[in-house]
């Protein structure tokens, strides 16, 4: 049930993103700010 909902929400976001320009890939950063 939970898996189905997750798949539905992913499909919805895929449809919503269709036609939109893709964002440029940038390397993800993880910064320790323990500042």
């Amino acid at each position: 049930m939970e898996k189905e909902q997750s798949e539905i929400s992913e499909a919805k976001s895929a449809v919503a993103n269709k036609g939109k320009a893709k964002k440029k890939w940038q390397k993800p950063k993880l910064e320790d700010v323990s500042k």
Partner: protein
């Protein structure tokens, strides 16, 4: 891949804040890092995460794969996730 018990995630506009309650360390990550954390939270495996990011972002698969693996290794080495 799952979050360790002592890890708390807070989603933000810029990405996410990760708080390790055991070591009291605080990490911040950007939008893409936040998306990776969101997918890990959903219990997705590495290949699925890479596929989703390849669909959503403009970049070659090899680069995305390398960067995601590097990022998840960082998460593991900081005890944020476990394999």
């Amino acid at each position: 891949m799952n979050f360790t018990k002592h890890t708390k995630i807070r989603k933000e506009r810029f990405g996410a804040v990760v708080f390790d309650t055991l070591t009291e360390k605080i990490f911040v990550t950007d939008e893409i890092g936040g998306e990776i954390l969101r997918l890990i939270e959903k219990g997705k495996d590495l290949t699925h995460i890479i596929s989703v990011l390849c669909d959503n972002y403009d970049g070659d698969r090899q680069t995305i794969e390398k960067d995601v693996i590097e990022f998840t290794n960082q998460l593991k080495s900081n005890s944020i996730v476990r394999a």
